[in-house]
Structures are given as structure tokens and as C-alpha cells.
């Protein structure tokens, strides 16, 4: 499957929201789901445990209609954040066109963020893909929490954003920064259209 198919005149983008457990990946998707008009969204599939933790993954298909004559579809996925679900994470990551890394801004979650980012790199590497070729943006979620609990964007930048990617502070619960992140990753992914290679894994 390629990002753009000239024969069927289709563009399909798979975007994966990655990050540690409870960082707000599903919340991002839920907010997007709520904002998209009914006729443009498919059924959001969410497999959650009784305690509202993503057990498997979330999947939100978006049909953006015809753009420049191409039927354009987005598929948004989240991975389960908990460490022990790595097999699922790796599976979901397969064929991703772009990755949004959702970090938890809380100071006490910094280690989880770092660990999850390393896990992302490792999983992508195992698909034989150079992480530098994968379109990616970062999101500093939960910036609405009290200042003394969270790290400022600059601090998170220092700790996590060593590739100088675009980073967006967000409050996914209220929707702040959610679409900014989505727009940024979409633009990054679509920029790859003209480069031929789509940078998909697997």
C-alpha cells in the first residue's frame, strides 16, 4: 500500500499517536472524533479496559473527500501505552506514514516519556526504517495542569526534542493544540508525496 495511488486516485495516510500510558493519546482521538462532521468520520473503534485504559488500540478513519481529484482518507491510530503491550505497539506502527508523539507534561512522568520515545525508536528500527525519514511531531500534553506539576515546553524540548521537531503544547481534554498537532503531522506526511518514498515501515 502506498501513500498515493494514482491508479485508484486515492491518498491514504496512516498516522499513529504514540506515547507513554495515560499521556492522552486516546483523548486526542476522541476530541478529533467529536469535531469531525458525521459524514466524514467512520466508527471509532476503541478497545478499552474497565478502567478506561487502551487495551489494544484506537482506530479512527477520516474521509476527507476528494482533494485535487484524489479520494483522501486518514487513519488515526493510538497504541496502548503500557510497557507490556509492546507487540501490539509494534504491530500498529507497521505501515505508519507519520507519528505523533504525545508526551505527558507532568514532571514525574519524564522518565516514562523518555522510555516510550526510546521504545518508539527501537520499534521503528526493527522495521528497518531510519527514524529520521519518518514524519513526526511532538505534543506536550496536559499543559493545563498547575505550573508546579508540569514541565514547561522549553524543558520538555530539552529533554525529548533532540531532533528539533515541531512541538505543540496541548490540553487534549479541552482540545487545545489537538488540531494544531494533527495539521502539522498531516502537512509533514503530505510533504513526502513529492519525494516518492513514503517512509512507511514494514
Amino acid at each position: 500500500m502506498s501513500l498515493v495511488n494514482f491508479t485508484t486516485r486515492e491518498i491514504t495516510c496512516k498516522i499513529v499517536y504514540y506515547g507513554p500510558g495515560r499521556s492522552g493519546k486516546t483523548t486526542n482521538l476522541q476530541y478529533i472524533y467529536d469535531q469531525v462532521p458525521d459524514d466524514r468520520r467512520g466508527r471509532m473503534v476503541s478497545l478499552a479496559t474497565q478502567t478506561d485504559r487502551t487495551l489494544f488500540f484506537d482506530f479512527l478513519p477520516l474521509d476527507l473527500g476528494s482533494i485535487s481529484g484524489f479520494t483522501t482518507k486518514f487513519q488515526l491510530y493510538t497504541v496502548p501505552g503500557q510497557v507490556y503491550y509492546n507487540a501490539t505497539r509494534k504491530l500498529v506502527l507497521q505501515g505508519a506514514d507519520g507519528v505523533v508523539f504525545v508526551a505527558d507534561s507532568q514532571a514525574r512522568q519524564l522518565d516514562e516519556n523518555i522510555e516510550s520515545l526510546q521504545n518508539l525508536h527501537q520499534n521503528i528500527l526493527e522495521y528497518g526504517v531510519d527514524i529520521r525519514t519518518v514524519p513526526m511531531v511532538l505534543q506536550w500534553n496536559k499543559q493545563d495542569l498547575p505550573r508546579d506539576l508540569i514541565l514547561a515546553p522549553e524543558e520538555l524540548d530539552d529533554a525529548l526534542n533532540f531532533r528539533a521537531l515541531s512541538a505543540y503544547p496541548a490540553d487534549a481534554l479541552h482540545g487545545n493544540g489537538v488540531f494544531e498537532t494533527l495539521k502539522a503531522i498531516s502537512a509533514e506526511v503530505l510533504r513526502k508525496l513529492s519525494q516518492g518514498a513514503t517512509g512507511r515501515q514494514g
Binding site: 462532521p37 476527507l64 485535487s68 514547561a152 515546553p153 522549553e154 515541531s166 516518492g196
Partner: protein, 661 residues
């Protein structure tokens, strides 16, 4: 009306929406009257029609200062016409207009409901085109949509190239704003022009108006405009919450807005539609940009007569190609072809226009060809590969000739030089000639054999003399290792060709190169051929080809039927061989007639079918038969066979003498 110096190609910003129109306009300016004539540009108001139109005039005049260029709006044209009519000068007005080399007519949509002007324009466009002069028109709609426009005029105006100009995309809008700011030497804060470009102005004029407001505001304001401030200024909306209170963000490639966490999110539809517009912009930018570039290149190169199969194939591909590299490679090939054509033109001006120099996919072939032309050794016509000794049917009638030919092929220039093959039309002279040529090439690969009919030989010489390259033509033949000339009797009365042949003949004999000729009669009987040539023909070996005998005809028929996968029943070959035929061509005709007449469902060709095909259809024969023998019509066609009737009775006198003996 004078051209406005601001309206030139250099000042026209090209984007996806106007790329095609710009390419077409440039092509027209570079070679007026020859590519797209008329060129009809249509676009909504304010998208640059007049700019392009005047740019054509400027560019055409810059390239060829002698050109007479006239730019006029339709309204002015009408006024001038009316003034001329009032002064009784309408003819002079027409003549003046028709003398213009590049006629640029703006705003022809005002032709609506003006029948008189329509017929005047029709007349003008016909006159301009007949003289190979360029007509370019602009309108706010295509010709077919101009109200009450004469059908003939619609056809004429649409007959060249119709191109439209679409509103500028984001990048083009941004480029236009940047150019404006540069012109006014105004420096805007980062992101301001981008913010303005995002406001979708209906046309370029409106956009420039927005830019002007911005520049004016910036020059009176104390602090530089921010993107939000600019957007608010131009759209009349209140600026969004200041970003200073929000957390600062590392500047990424995309402007990263910093939301104020306390505020609730923007309205749902806004979120989604702004996301949609980002996606649409990105897709259009990436997807259409390269296609636009390829399309533009195709139009450009096709306009110059180049084959663009390679570029067209790009548009069919399933993936996105490396457009820049491919276009650059294509252009490099075109440049190379051009230089090859120029090189060729120095040797052979006619050959420089060859289609070889218009196909960038075959540069190597063109180059090899030029090398040969340059060396004067572009080979003369070679023998046809289909006519070899293997295909030749040898029998009593041509056995001697075939042996002589084989000897020549074995030892060219040594034994029989020249070899002259004589015989009536259709007996296989040409076949034999080509067979010798092929054998010569096969025996010594690399041998250049000129195998050509006397008619072609003559025509080549005429065009070489016409193109003042007779030397080149001579070198071409002298470079050959053998000259095989078919039907020399066709040179009768062509003295110059005979002279050239005479010189070639001597040169070949001196160099022990083989010469073979065919003629329809013995050299001594050739009329209109110079005696010095006749005597040279006669001093070689003159062999005569007789019409094929029955066995040869049978073999020919067998091979011809086998070649067409027709299986012949008993007696068919014998029957065909028995038919009167004075040469290979006649036998082939017979076989073709039989094969064409048979029902493809029949597996085997029978004698009856062959007879029906060759004889049975003749109503005249049956009528004669009926009259002569009293046999009623409609009986077994075998009995009506032509061959069952004796048509030529022996002379009665001969019989009497025999009887007497």
C-alpha cells in the same frame, strides 16, 4: 496603443494556475505565428490576462526588433474602426491591421452582440493567419460562452490554443506579496505575508490591494505588524489572544500557534475545516505541482515539435517521480538534439529537419546518424533483407544467372565486373540483385552495399543538386564497397545522372569494387543511354533471365501457398504451374487470387476451387462457350474452362503443308 513596460514576463509571477498560459504565451512570443495561432487566453478579471498579453508583445519585440506589434483593447479597436469608416478609410484601416506581425487584442468578450465587429474580426483573423502572423486574444470567458458570437468566429478563435488562467494558489499569492513588499522596500515581520496570503483574495488585483493596505499600515504604525494583527487588519476581525501569556514554543518548520490553556477550544467546524484546508493545500502543493510542471513541459516541447512520450508516461505512472531530474535530463537531451541538428545543417540542410532530431528518447541513434553524415558516409540504400538467395527459386531458366551471381558474391570485383542481368519485367532481376547484395554483406560483415533502383538514384541526385550537396551525395556512393543498380534503362535521357554513374563506374572499377546492373533489355539495345556507359556494361558479363519454366512455377506456387499456410490438394500445384505466367510476379498474382477467393473454412485447396477462382467467374467465357459448343449455361464449371477451348487454331496453311508431306 503602447505596451506598458511593467507588464513583462520577468515581472509575471508563475504558479500552478497560470503556468500553462504562461508557457503558451512564451512559446508564442518566441516564435510568433508558428506555434499556437490564434492563442486565446481567458480568465476572470484581475488574474493577469493583460499582463500576459503585453508580455508577449514585449518579448516578441525584444527578440525580433523588426516585428510590428500592436496591442489594442477591443473597445479601442471598435473606436478606431468607426473613426476609419467615418473618414472613408475603412480599407486603409484593414490593410494597416493586416500588416501587423503580432496582433494583441484584449477583452474580446465585448464582442457580444456586435455582429459588424465580429465579421471584421473574422476577416482580420483570416488575413493574419493566411500571412502567418500571430493573433493573441484575451477574454473573461471562452469563445463559446461569449453571447451571440458568430459560429465561424468561435471556430476560428478556438482553432489555435485555448488556455485559461486560474486564481493564484497560496504560494503564488505569497510570491506576489513578497514581490510587492520588495518593490516598496518594506520589510515585514516573519509570518505576516503568509498570513495575508492565506486570506483567499478573489484575484491578484484584490490581493495587491490587501498588500498595499498592509504596507501603508506598517509605514504609519509604531511597532511592526504581527501575523495576527495583519489578519485582523485585513479581515476586520479582532486579533486572537496574544501569545505572550502562553508558553513559548520552539519555532518549528510550521508556525506553531500557542494556545492559551485557559481558553476553551475554537468552534468545532473551524477546527476541522482548517485541518481540511491544510490537507488540501499540502496535497495540491505536492501533487499538482509536479504534474503542472510536467504538463507545462509537455506543452512547451510539443509546441516546438519534440516527442514527449517520456514525459507523458510520467503522468501515467503510479508513483511520484523525481520530476526535476527527469525534466532536466529531457531538456539536456533536447539541447543535444538541437546541437546535432545544427551540426547536420552544415552538411545537409534538408536532413537537419529530420524527425530524428525531434525524439529525445533516441538521442544515441540521432548522434550515430550525424556521425555518419559528418563523415559523408551515411550509407546509401542497402539491399532488402527479405530478398536472399535462399528465397530464390532456381531452375533451368535462371540457373546460369544464379551461378554467375553466386560467383560475384563470392569474389566481388574479381570475376565478373560489371555483371549485367537482363530480362523482362517480373522475372526476378531485382530479387537476384538484392540477393547478391545480401550475400556480399553476409560474407564480409561491415561491407557497405549500395543497392538502389535507378529511379531513386536519379531522384537523390536531383535533390542533392538542389540542396547544393552533390559532393556529399557523391562521397556517400563512393564510400560504398559495391554498387548494385536496378533498372538502368530508367536512366534513359538523364544525362547528368548518366555522367555521375559513369564517373562512379570508373572509380569502382579502378578500386576493384563490384558493380551489378539490371536492365529490361541487352545493353546494346538500350536507348537514350550514353554509348560510353553501354560499352562499359557490355564489357562485363551480360546474363539473360528467362521467364520461369513449369517446374519453377510449381516450386514458386508451392512456396507461396506454404507461406500463407494454405494446404494444397492433389493436382493444385501442377494446375497453378500450368497456368500461363511470364514471371515470378505473375505466379504470385495467381496464387493471391486463388487464396483470396477461397473460403477460410475449407481446410484444403482443391483444383476445382483454384479453377473456379481463376477461370470460373468469367461470364464472358461461359457465354462464348455456350455459343460455340451449344453447351447450356449452368453445367459443371470444369467444362466451361477456358483451357478446354482451343482459341488459337494452327495456321491452316501449315497444316496443308504437313498433310502434303
Amino acid at each position: 496603443m503602447d505596451l506598458n513596460p511593467r507588464f513583462r514576463f520577468e515581472t509575471f509571477i508563475v504558479g500552478a494556475g497560470n503556468r500553462l498560459a504562461t508557457s503558451a504565451a512564451r512559446a508564442v512570443a518566441e516564435s510568433p505565428g508558428s506555434v499556437y495561432n490564434p492563442l486565446f487566453i481567458y480568465a476572470k478579471s484581475g488574474l493577469g490576462k493583460t499582463h500576459l498579453l503585453q508580455a508577449i508583445g514585449f518579448e516578441a519585440q525584444a527578440q525580433q526588433p523588426a516585428l510590428r506589434v500592436q496591442y489594442v483593447t477591443l473597445e479601442e479597436f471598435v473606436e478606431q474602426y468607426h473613426a476609419a469608416v467615418a473618414a472613408g478609410q475603412s480599407d486603409a484601416f484593414r490593410r494597416g491591421a493586416q500588416e501587423v506581425d503580432v496582433f494583441l487584442l484584449d477583452d474580446v468578450q465585448f464582442l457580444a452582440d456586435r455582429r459588424e465587429m465580429q465579421s471584421e474580426l473574422l476577416r482580420l483573423s483570416e488575413a493574419l493567419q493566411a500571412r502567418g502572423r500571430q493573433l493573441v486574444l484575451t477574454s473573461d470567458r471562452p469563445p463559446a460562452e461569449i453571447r451571440d458570437l458568430d459560429d465561424r468566429l468561435i471556430t476560428r478563435l478556438s482553432g489555435g490554443l485555448l488556455v485559461d488562467v486560474a486564481p493564484p494558489d497560496f504560494e503564488t499569492r505569497l510570491a506576489i506579496l513578497r514581490r510587492k513588499a520588495e518593490e516598496r522596500s518594506v520589510v515585514m515581520a516573519p509570518g505576516v505575508l503568509e498570513a495575508v496570503a492565506e486570506i483567499s483574495a478573489a484575484n491578484v488585483r484584490e490581493l495587491i490591494g490587501l498588500g498595499n493596505r498592509l504596507i501603508a499600515f506598517q509605514s504609519v504604525g509604531e511597532s511592526p505588524l504581527t501575523p495576527e494583527g495583519a489578519r485582523a487588519l485585513l479581515t476586520g476581525e479582532a486579533p486572537a489572544g496574544r501569545s505572550a501569556d502562553g508558553p513559548e514554543v520552539r519555532p518549528g518548520p510550521a508556525p506553531a500557534p500557542t494556545p492559551a490553556p485557559q481558553e476553551s477550544a475554537a468552534s468545532p467546524s473551524d477546527d476541522f475545516s482548517s485541518f481540511l484546508s491544510v490537507v488540501a493545500q499540502s496535497v495540491a502543493r505536492q501533487l499538482e505541482a509536479w504534474k503542472g510542471r510536467v504538463g507545462e513541459a509537455i506543452v512547451r516541447w510539443q509546441g516546438q515539435g519534440y516527442k514527449t512520450a517520456r514525459l507523458e508516461a510520467l503522468l501515467e505512472r503510479g508513483d511520484i517521480p523525481d520530476v526535476e531530474a527527469i525534466l532536466a535530463a529531457y531538456e539536456a537531451d533536447v539541447v543535444q538534439l538541437r546541437s546535432l541538428a545544427e551540426t547536420t545543417a552544415r552538411f545537409d540542410s534538408a536532413a537537419a529537419g529530420s524527425a530524428r532530431f525531434k525524439d529525445p528518447d533516441h538521442v544515441a541513434e540521432a548522434q550515430a546518424w550525424v556521425e555518419r553524415v559528418r563523415e559523408g558516409t551515411a550509407p546509401p540504400p542497402a539491399p532488402s533483407g527479405a530478398l536472399g538467395f535462399a528465397e530464390l527459386i532456381v531452375g533451368a531458366a535462371n540457373d546460369a544467372v544464379a551461378r554467375a551471381a553466386a560467383a560475384v558474391a563470392q569474389e566481388p570485383g574479381q570475376r565478373y565486373n560489371p555483371l549485367v542481368i537482363v530480362g523482362p519485367a517480373g522475372v526476378g532481376k531485382t530479387h537476384l540483385l538484392h540477393a547478391i547484395g545480401n550475400a556480399l554483406v553476409a560474407a564480409r560483415p561491415g561491407t557497405v552495399v549500395a543497392c538502389v533502383s535507378a529511379q531513386v538514384f536519379f531522384e537523390e541526385l536531383v535533390s542533392a543538386i538542389h540542396g547544393e550537396r552533390a559532393d556529399w551525395w557523391r562521397r556517400r556512393y563512393r564510400g560504398a564497397d559495391a554498387l548494385l543498380l536496378d533498372d538502368v534503362h530508367l536512366l534513359a535521357g538523364r544525362e547528368r545522372t548518366q555522367e555521375e554513374l559513369f564517373n562512379l563506374f570508373n572509380a569502382f572499377q579502378d578500386a576493384n569494387k563490384q558493380l551489378v546492373f539490371t536492365a529490361d533489355r541487352l545493353p546494346s539495345q538500350l536507348e537514350g543511354i550514353a554509348p560510353r556507359l553501354v560499352s562499359r556494361f557490355s564489357e562485363g558479363l551480360v546474363v539473360e533471365l528467362a521467364p520461369p519454366d513449369r517446374e519453377m512455377r510449381a516450386e514458386m506456387a508451392r512456396r507461396l501457398l506454404a507461406a500463407q499456410h494454405v494446404s494444397a490438394g492433389p493436382g493444385v500445384i501442377e494446375y497453378l504451374a500450368s497456368r500461363p505466367a511470364d514471371g515470378a510476379r505473375a505466379v504470385a498474382d495467381l496464387v493471391t487470387r486463388v487464396v483470396q477467393s477461397i473460403d477460410p473454412t475449407h481446410e484444403t485447396l482443391t483444383v476445382v476451387m483454384a479453377r473456379l477462382a481463376l477461370e470460373g467467374e468469367s461470364g464472358r467465357v461461359s457465354a462464348v462457350l455456350a455459343a460455340v459448343s451449344g453447351v447450356p449455361d449452368g453445367i459443371d464449371p470444369l467444362l466451361r474452362s477456358r483451357e478446354k477451348v482451343v482459341w488459337d487454331w494452327p495456321d491452316i496453311g501449315d497444316r496443308l503443308i504437313e498433310d502434303f508431306r
